[in-house]
C-alpha cells in the first residue's frame, strides 16, 4: 500500500522534472522564463567551487544560529515556566518583538552587527529562537492542571514537576518546532544575505539577479534547497532516534 504510494510519488517527481525539461527545451524558452533542468544542473557543476564556498558560508550561519536559537528558545521557555513572576513581565515583551515580521529586523541587525557573518547568525538565532520558544512554552503549558496538582500533593517541587511532567509532555512539540526551524534558519540566512553580505547563497542569488544571470539564480536555489532538505532530514532522523515513544 505505502509501497505503491511511494512509487507514485517518485513517478510524480520524475514526471514533473521531465515535463519541465521538455517544456523548456521544446518551446526553446529563454533562460529568464525557465531554464531546462539539465541547464541548471550544468550551471551547478560549472560553478561548483563558488557554490560550494557559498553553501559552506550559509550552512555555517544557519547551523550556528540554529544552535544558539534552539538553546536560547528552550532556555527562555524553561525559565518562564519555572519563574512565574518573570513571565508576566517578559512574555509581553517577547510577544511584541515577535509581532514584527522577522525579516523586518534584518536591516536593523545588519546596521548593528555589520555585513559579515555575525549579523546572519543573529538573525537566524532570532527566528529559530522564537519558533522554538513558542512551541516549547506551548508544550510546557499543555500539561493537565490536575496532574500538576496530583504531583504537588505528593510533595513534588517546581523542578520535579518540570522534569517529570512538563518536559516529557513538551518534547513532541519542541521536536516539531526544531524541525520547522531548520527550514526557517536557512530562509532567514539567505534573506539576510540578500541585503548585504561578503558571501553565501543569498548573496549569490542577489548578485545573479542584478547581473541578470537567471541560470545562476536557479543553480543557487537548487543548492539552497538541497542544503535545506539535508538539514531537515538530519534533524528529523535525530528526532526519530531520541523521541522513540512517538
Amino acid at each position: 500500500m505505502s509501497g505503491t504510494s511511494a512509487a507514485r510519488g517518485v513517478f510524480g517527481a520524475v514526471l514533473i522534472l521531465a515535463l519541465w525539461e521538455v517544456t523548456a527545451r521544446g518551446f526553446a524558452l529563454p533562460a529568464y522564463t525557465l531554464p531546462a533542468v539539465t541547464q541548471i544542473l550544468g550551471a551547478v557543476w560549472e560553478h561548483r567551487a563558488a557554490l560550494q564556498a557559498a553553501a559552506l558560508v550559509t550552512g555555517f550561519e544557519a547551523i550556528t544560529g540554529y544552535a544558539i536559537g534552539a538553546l536560547a528558545g528552550i532556555g527562555m521557555a524553561t525559565l518562564l515556566v519555572l519563574a512565574r513572576p518573570l513571565r508576566a513581565g517578559v512574555l509581553p515583551l517577547l510577544l511584541a518583538i515577535n509581532s514584527v515580521p522577522v525579516v523586518a529586523w534584518s536591516p536593523l541587525v545588519l546596521l548593528w552587527f555589520g555585513v559579515g557573518v555575525s549579523s546572519k547568525i543573529v538573525m537566524v538565532a532570532l527566528a529559530v529562537g522564537f519558533t522554538i520558544f513558542l512551541s516549547a512554552l506551548a508544550g510546557f503549558d499543555r500539561v493537565d492542571r490536575r496532574s500538576v496538582d496530583l504531583m504537588r500533593s505528593f510533595g513534588a517541587g517546581r523542578i520535579g514537576i518540570f522534569w517529570r511532567l512538563r518536559l516529557p509532555a513538551a518534547l513532541p512539540l519542541i521536536a516539531a518546532g526544531l524541525r520547522v526551524a531548520t527550514v526557517r534558519s536557512l530562509i532567514v540566512a539567505i534573506v539576510t544575505e540578500m541585503l548585504g553580505a561578503y558571501g553565501g547563497l543569498g548573496w549569490i542569488i542577489y548578485q545573479s539577479v542584478t547581473l541578470i544571470d537567471f541560470v545562476q539564480v536557479w543553480a543557487a536555489i537548487l543548492v539552497a534547497s538541497t542544503l535545506s532538505l539535508a538539514f531537515f532530514g538530519a534533524v528529523g532522523a535525530l528526532e526519530r532516534r531520541f523521541i522513540f515513544w512517538r
Partner: protein, 251 residues
C-alpha cells in the same frame, strides 16, 4: 459589544503603557539612539512624512491581502482535488511536502524577474507562501473526518457535494485555519522581501531606504509599520476563525 469595548480599551491601555515604558527605559538607562531611539522620536519621524508611511502601509497591505486571498482559495481547491483524486495526491503531494522544506523565498527573485516590479509580483510571492500550507492542511483536515460519519450521511441519501459542504469541509476548517494563521505571517514576509528586489513604495522599501541611509529612527518607524500590519492581519484572521469555527472552543 460591551465586552469588546472593554477588551479594546484594555488593549489601548496596554499599548500606551508599553509606549511609556519604552520611552522611560530609553531615557532612564541612557540607551544610545543607535540601538533604540526614543518612541517619541520615531513617532515624530512618522508624523514628519506621514504620506510615505501611509502609502507604504497600503501598498504592502494590498500585496499581502491579494496574495493571501488567492493562496487561500487555490489552496483549499487544491486540497479538495487531492482529497478526491488519490492518484494525483500520491503523485504530487510528496513534491509539495519537499517543496515546503526548500527556501521558497529565494524564488522571490525569479518572480520579480517574471512579473517585473509590479504589485502583482509581490502578490504572487505572498500567494505561494500561503498556498502550500493551506493545501496540505486542507487535505489533512479532510482526511481526519470519520468515514463512518460520511457513510451515515450517504445512507440518508446525501449527495457527495452535500457531504462535502455539510460535513467534510466544516470538519476541516480548524486545520485550515491553522494554515491561514501561518499564511498570514508568511504572506507579509513574502511581500516585504519581494519589495527588496526593487520597488518604489512599500514597507520593505522603507526598510531598505532607512538601511542605506543608516537612519535607525526611520528603520524603527518602518519596523513599527510592519508590526502594525502583521499584528492587525493576524488579529483579523484569528477573529475570522473565532467567528467561523465557533465550535472550536478547545483552544
Amino acid at each position: 459589544m460591551n465586552a469588546t469595548a472593554m477588551a479594546a480599551l484594555r488593549l489601548l491601555g496596554g499599548v500606551i503603557l508599553a509606549g511609556l515604558v519604552w520611552e522611560g527605559v530609553v531615557v532612564l538607562f541612557g540607551i544610545r539612539p543607535h540601538l533604540l531611539p526614543r518612541l517619541s522620536e520615531i513617532l515624530a519621524a512618522i508624523a514628519f512624512t506621514p504620506g510615505a508611511y501611509w502609502a507604504g502601509l497600503q501598498r504592502t497591505a494590498a500585496e499581502t491581502l491579494i496574495g493571501f486571498a488567492a493562496g487561500t482559495a487555490v489552496g483549499i481547491v487544491n486540497g479538495l482535488v487531492f482529497f478526491r483524486a488519490p492518484l494525483l495526491r500520491d503523485m504530487l503531494l510528496p513534491v509539495f511536502v519537499v517543496s515546503q522544506t526548500i527556501p521558497v523565498i529565494a524564488f522571490g527573485a525569479l518572480v520579480v524577474m517574471w512579473f517585473g516590479n509590479t504589485l502583482m509580483a509581490k502578490a504572487v510571492i505572498a500567494f505561494y507562501l500561503t498556498f502550500f500550507p493551506v493545501t496540505v492542511n486542507t487535505l489533512l483536515g479532510l482526511n481526519s473526518v470519520d468515514p463512518r460519519q460520511a457513510a451515515l450521511l450517504r445512507s440518508f441519501g446525501a449527495t457527495p457535494t452535500q457531504i462535502l459542504f455539510r460535513l467534510q469541509l466544516p470538519m476541516a476548517l480548524p486545520q485550515i485555519f491553522v494554515a491561514l494563521r501561518l499564511g498570514a505571517s508568511l504572506s507579509l514576509v513574502g511581500a516585504i522581501v519581494g519589495e527588496w528586489f526593487g520597488d518604489n513604495t512599500g514597507i520593505g522599501v522603507l526598510l531598505l531606504q532607512a538601511m542605506y541611509n543608516e537612519s535607525v529612527v526611520a528603520l524603527w518607524a518602518a519596523i513599527l509599520c510592519a508590526a502594525l500590519l502583521g499584528t492587525g492581519f493576524y488579529a483579523l484572521v484569528a477573529w475570522a476563525e473565532r467567528r467561523i469555527v465557533f465550535w472550536g472552543a478547545e483552544q
